[in-house]
Structures are given as C-alpha cells and as structure tokens.
Symmetry: C2
Subunit: 305 residues, 2 copies
C-alpha cells in the first residue's frame, strides 16, 4: 500500500529577503514532510514553497510556517506586483497519492481552525473547502487586497470561516482550501500572428465555449519568435492533456498552423502521463503498477516498514 | 541521486513442485533485493523469478539461487515443453535505474566466474556479455538442450566461459548475460483475416525489412475474435513503442484496418512512457523529474540516508 501523500504549494508574501525566506522554509522541516521546491519572485515579492507529505506532519509544517511568517512579515510594509491579503497568503491542499479530496478539505478545515484560534489570524476557506459558492474563487476572496481587507470584512458575506472578525494588524488573513492538481502547460504554434493565437486560446478555453477546466491565453513570445498558447489545466484528471493538445491541433488546422512544441512548467502527476499513453497507444490496461520504477519505489517503502 | 538498480528475470527448471519453487525463491531474500514477481508454468515445467536490486546484493541472491536449484533440481528427471540446458537455465541482468550495460556485463562475468568455480557448473555468457558472436543468441547456446549438452561441449566452439569443460551431472549448465529491457506488447487489429495480420507482422519486424529490435508474429485470438500482432520489443529505448504502434497503423491502413487496442504484458521502464508522451505531445522537456511520484520516491530514498 502506498502512503497517503498530499501536496501543498503554499504562497507567502516575501520574495526579497533571503533571511526571512530561509527562516520560513526552516519552519517546514519535520519527518514525513518533503520540500519539493522553493521559488521566490522579486517583482511579485512573493515565494512559493512546495511541500509534500503525509497529512498529519504536513498540517504541522503548514501551521509552523504560518506562525513564523506572521512573526517575520509585516504587510503594512509590503510592496509587490502580485495581489495578496496575508503574510501567508494561500494554502492549497492537493491530493496526490492515495489521498481523497474529502481528506484534503478536512485538512484545510482543521488547519484553518487552528490558525484562527491559536494565531488569531482570520481564515477564509476556498475552492473545494469553500463554505459558500461566492467564496470558492481565490480572486474573489483576495479582491481589495490587504489594504481593503478591514472594510471588506465588515460585509456579512465576507466574515471569516475561523478566527477574529477583523484582519490581523500585520499578517492580514489566510486563504486555505483544497483543490485538484493544476498543470501549467504551454503550446508553441508555428506562426507569428498573435490574432491566430488569441483565436485559438478562445476556442480552447472553457469560459468561451472550449474545454472545461482549461484557462488559456494567446501571447507572442519574443525569445522563440512564435505565438504561444499559455494554459492552466485546473483539473487534468477530468480534462486530460491529450484532449487539450489535440483540440489545439484541430483548431490550429483551420489556419494551416502546426503545433511546434509543448512545454511543461513544474510537475505532473503520473496519472496524467499514463492517460496520455493510454489514449495514443490505445492501451487501456496501463497502470502505475505497470511501471518498473513505481514498483521499486513501492517495494522500497514497504521494506522500511 | 537515485540508487543503481538492476533487474534480473531468472529462469529455473521447475514449474511443478511447490516446495522446490518456494525453497529456491527463499534463497533470493536479502536486504537490497526485491522479488517483483514469480511465475510458474506447469507445461513448460519452468519458473521465472523477477528480482530487482542493487548490484552487489543482487549478485549474492542470484548465486544463492543457483546453488539451491543445483541441490533441488535434477535435469535427468526433468520433462517440460520449454527448451532448457540447466537447473537454473538463464540469468539476464538488465540495467534499470542509473545502471549501465557495461556494469551489467561485469555482473554477469563476476557471477558466472563464481558459479563455475564454487559450484562446478559450466557457464556460458550470452547477449551483451557474449565472448564471441556465435554465442550471443540464447537459442543457439541452448540448441540440443540438456540431453545434447555433453556432446555439444566437445566442440571447441562450445567450450564454456567459466567452470568445468563438461556438464554438471544433474544441473547441466548456466547461461548468464546482460541485455536491455524487453517489452512484450500486443496490438489488436479490427479484422478476422489472419493473412492481413501475418502481412503486417512481416512489414513491422526487423528481420523482414521493418523496424529494428522488433520481433512480431500475426495470430488469430479466438477469445477476442480478432487478429493480433504479438511482439517483443527487444530494445524499447532505441526503437520506441510509439514508432512501432504508428508503423502498424500506417501498414494496417493499406487494408483499411484500424488498431482496436494495445496490450502490455508485464512491466515497462518509465523512460518508455516518457518517450511516448514526448512524441505525441511534442514535449521534449519531459523527464522523470517532472513526475511528482518520482520526486517523492527519490526524496523518500534520500531521507532514509
């Protein structure tokens, strides 16, 4: 049996001070939790620390990070191009291995409750953990940012799910929730005509009549001298990558434009790769257990007991 | 850094006596070696035990199995439909993770030398470890079987690489070597016409002018009421699965026949799956490190030190 693993790409509001970032990352360390990646952006003045681990220690690490960030980050002094309402701004729990969405929702509730109670920071639940439909979308919760939060929270629609009824003076509020894995995926087209890129982006994205769970923008990439369809695939298990790529191919064909190359930003769950091979090779009986390296990893995990 | 892992699907000559099979499998157990699979065939009177592990303990397990099998199996009493020359008949070492072919050749030589010296069983090196071109092919070494071995070994061309110059009285000889991973892969076609299946099998296999490293037969599968192209892909890293499937599709098109389904027998190395996705998605920057589950497995392995 594979261990239950949950991923957490936590966003906090410092991308400029190395000592602060290091201290916050330090708070995540504990057995059973792995730090997959830390990426800081100076212009955004924001960092993403990607944790992965078993539910209990992962929740401990997240709580420790929120506590440390509240000590070290003062949003009254914070400037950056990316919208934010909190010192720790967003905490998504993402089911990865043998974990269910329900379990991740429960983790968000438990950790949120503890942050509200012990750290006295207001907490908003979002996405699959949202307590009302208007609170599902992160952008809606964050609209007005830290600077507008005290006024926004006077609206009965924007009472926090946990914690005090007004913002923490320096740490603002925390948004915490559960969502499926998101794949950032770009497709380069054999054209320099941005109008074609924009038309294909419209055709492919769910909002404008294309595929559900696909967010897409057409942009011109100078470095490559080509048009790119830049996408977030927000539910790659229900709207698989092959369907997105083949639909782009189909739409691009009406302009006589070929796909030149695809590009993956970050990581993919194995299942998305398996589904790709199942489709193209017409190989329905392909599973994680069919992959030697997965069998080895599983056996190695078993043998340590 | 990933651990070095070598796979060894070892074939021994008993598929009928549970106590014998269990005792031989038992000899494989040691830290650093995992038993992926044991499959016994009663008609063949033969079993395959698939081990995977780090080179040193894996060589120890293999040596222990050969010793135990020589004690428990007497080929003078052995009847079965599958050709064989030894109690342990064939030992392939297959590079899997961070292992090179050169390393597997060296493992075959070392283990073979020890079997010859300590167990007094003659040893033939084959495939990548072969000491001469005429000794590369397993079928050539095995021709004449156990019953013809004493006469065959009088030929200077068939002196063993290690051990005594004549067969072990009850255990015969051992064939040991190194080869790439072999994928057993079948493609079902939307036709009941076996002539079409045979023509496509000829078109696809290297021997008759098709793709290198592909062995293919056309056969009619009653259960599915369809023709199947049954294949061994003997070097799936150099002749990738997508090329085989798309060439079958291309050849089948001349008969107006579609591919209905593919079928994988056994396991695949992750790299073959990555190469499939790289081709179809045109995604050159896809690597094992792009897969969440592989990153987790690597981190877990590191954290145990």
């Amino acid at each position: 049996m594979a261990k239950t693993l949950v991923e957490c790409p936590l966003n906090f509001s410092d991308g400029q001070h190395k000592d602060v970032i290091t201290a916050i990352v330090q708070a995540a360390h504990r057995p059973g939790v792995h730090i997959l990646d830390v990426t800081s952006d100076i212009d955004h003045n924001r960092s993403v620390i990607t944790l992965i681990g078993e539910p209990e220690p992962l929740q401990e690490s997240v709580f420790a990070i929120v506590g440390r960030a509240a000590e070290l980050i003062d949003l009254r002094q914070h400037r950056g191009t990316h919208p934010r309402i909190g010192a720790v701004d967003v905490i998504p729990f993402v089911p990865v291995q043998a974990a269910s969405m329900a379990q991740c929702v429960e983790m968000a509730r438990q950790t949120g409750e503890r942050i509200g109670r012990e750290l006295q920071i207001p907490v908003f639940l979002y996405e699959e953990a949202a307590s009302a439909p208007h609170r599902r979308n992160l952008a809606d919760i964050r609209r007005g940012e830290f600077e507008g939060l005290a006024v926004k929270m006077q609206d009965p629609l924007w009472q926090p799910d946990f914690g005090p009824a007004s913002p923490h003076p320096s740490a603002g509020a925390v948004v915490i929730g559960a969502r499926t894995y998101l794949v950032a995926y770009n497709v380069y087209l054999g054209t320099r005509d941005l109008r074609i890129g924009k038309a294909i982006a419209r055709a492919i994205r769910g909002r404008d009549g294309g595929l559900a769970n696909v967010k897409a923008l057409g942009m011109f990439i100078k470095e490559r001298d080509m048009v790119q369809i830049s996408m977030n695939l927000v539910d790659p298990l229900r709207t698989p990558i092959y369907r997105v790529v083949e639909t782009i191919r189909m739409e691009a064909a009406r302009y006589g434009v070929p796909i030149v190359e695809s590009e993956l930003i970050g990581l993919l769950p194995l299942e998305t790769l398996l589904e790709t091979a199942r489709y193209y090779l017409q190989l329905p009986n392909l599973h994680a257990d069919s992959i030697i390296e997965m069998r080895v990893a599983e056996l190695a995990a078993e043998s340590q007991g």
